[in-house]
């Protein structure tokens, strides 16, 4: 390769008004690792094939996860990326950093890695892109000396993540940051030492807006919810009306169950019909807020289309106490029952959503000791082939 890096195909990706990762990479192309990364990528585009070898086994002593091995298939052409391992660093709850903390990470990464990062991976970790095997232990040593830790990878509990929660959002129905912190610490063994059938992701969103997209992206979505009535500040409703805001068009007509009415300047909600979609609360933040009896709903099985197709999470527990004073015991208890049943009966590389589909919801609920409830199904009795035990018992009497 000549010293002058020519990348006509990659250059195409710099065109247009959008941010470009090529631009970012080029700004660091004086580093041999980044230069060879660009070179190999250009060659990949030209030859229409990837030049990364499949996986590779690298890790940190004592941990089974946290580092993903990546090797170039053509290291003789691009020696800078002969090793290009990824390091996942456990992010703080809600991604709150001081600039000092970010500098700490980048000082370590500039010294021992490529300097390239991905903030953040879809699991939530900080993703440090590109280092060599011999740098892994020094990186780990320096990170942990400053109280950082690696995240999960492989068939383990992946780094739990959450929305900004009560730190910055008035809709949070429970402390997502505290629960994430608690679960991360309680399940260190599960996080660092892969022993599950496959990955297990937990995401915590403080309200049904689900800012972490937990329903679509996590095996276990813990979504903040309330049991009682939406709180209404009628004087704030009157202010909305006086300001000319069209509550009829933007709120009442958008309500999926049409359970809201406006009489003069008074808003009424038939809470027995409310689906808790939080649209009205989003549009009228000064007047409406979630009820006072707060907790979370738990849905299982969300995943992206790897191995089997994509799945959206399915509701398993409509309401669970999120009790910090009690050490979040209810959540731990449920989580451990789910893991035990999945571990015992799940297959290799079978996500919890696929597992539930295979063994059926009925068997799964029995296995984890959760009562069947109307909230777990979309419509009542639309499938005549699903029966619960009580049904058989009645029939045989």
């Amino acid at each position: 390769m000549s010293d002058e890096l020519k990348t006509p195909l990659l250059d195409e990706l710099e065109k247009g008004p959008w941010p470009s990762f090529i631009k970012d990479l080029k700004s660091m192309a004086d580093r041999p690792m980044v230069k060879d990364l660009l070179g190999q990528l250009e060659k990949s585009y030209r030859d229409k094939r990837g030049y990364w070898k499949h996986g590779g086994l690298v890790g940190i002593m004592g941990y089974g996860g946290g580092v993903i091995g990546r090797y170039s298939a053509i290291p003789e052409d691009f020696p800078g990326v002969s090793h290009f391992h990824t390091v996942r660093v456990n992010q703080p709850s809600g991604w709150f950093y001081t600039s000092e903390a970010l500098n700490e990470i980048m000082d370590i990464w500039d010294e021992h890695g490529s300097g390239l990062t991905n903030m953040h991976g879809s699991t939530g970790d900080m993703v440090l892109l590109g280092t060599t095997t011999q740098e892994l232990e020094p990186i780990f040593r320096e990170l942990t000396a400053k109280d950082w830790d690696l995240g999960g990878s492989g068939s383990d509990l992946r780094t739990p993540s959450c929305c900004i929660g009560p730190a910055r959002c008035q809709n949070a129905c429970y402390d997502t940051l505290a629960l994430t912190y608690n679960i991360t610490h309680k399940y260190q063994d599960e996080l660092h030492r892969p022993m599950f059938n496959y990955k297990y992701k937990i995401k915590m969103s403080g309200c049904p807006n689900d800012c972490t997209a937990a329903m679509a992206r996590s095996d276990m979505a813990i979504i903040g919810i309330w049991k009682d009535d939406i709180q209404i500040d009628q004087s704030a409703i009157a202010e909305y009306v006086d300001s000319g805001f069209n509550i009829q068009e933007y709120v009442i007509e958008k309500c999926p169950t049409k359970c809201i009415t406006l009489e003069g300047k008074e808003l009424k909600i038939d809470n027995s019909d409310c689906l808790k979609c939080v649209h009205c609360i989003n549009v009228l933040p000064k007047a409406l807020s979630p009820g006072k009896e707060r907790g979370a709903a738990i849905a299982l099985g969300g995943k992206a289309p790897i191995v089997e197709g994509a799945l959206f999470a399915t509701l398993i527990v409509p309401f669970i106490e999120i009790d910090e004073e009690n050490g979040f015991e209810e959540v731990h208890d449920l989580l451990e029952r789910i893991w035990e049943f999945w571990d015992e009966h799940g297959m290799n590389r079978e996500r919890i959503g696929e597992f539930i589909e295979r063994v059926t919801l009925k068997t799964f609920l029995e296995g984890i000791g959760v009562e069947p409830m109307p909230q777990q199904i979309t419509q009542p009795r639309d499938n005549p082939y699903i029966f619960y035990e009580e049904y058989y018992e009645e029939e045989t009497e």
Partner: protein, 110 residues
Amino acid sequence: MSFELNGKSYETDDDGYLINLEDWNEDVAKYIAQQEGVEMTDAHWEVVNFLRDYYSEYKIAPMIKILIKEMKKMFGPEKGSNAYLYQLYPAGPALQACKIAGLPKPTGCV
């Protein structure tokens, strides 16, 4: 890649796993363990022997959860845990114990 031991040459892949599984013997295991910085004790051999027995019967390395369950059955609950296996093999049972047992490289994922 390859290494020499007692006048015989052994072929390995890039990560140090034996290419020819029939090449394995206890001396080879001890040599690989030494390269890994692992000192083989009776407890280490329990794991390696189980892995070899399992592999010769099923032609595949056991899943970690099966390894843990079988260890628990055979040697008691204190040896049937992931933490125990990592104490013996700090780089992990899949990475290190399988390599020392002369099994093919386990396929993992990111």
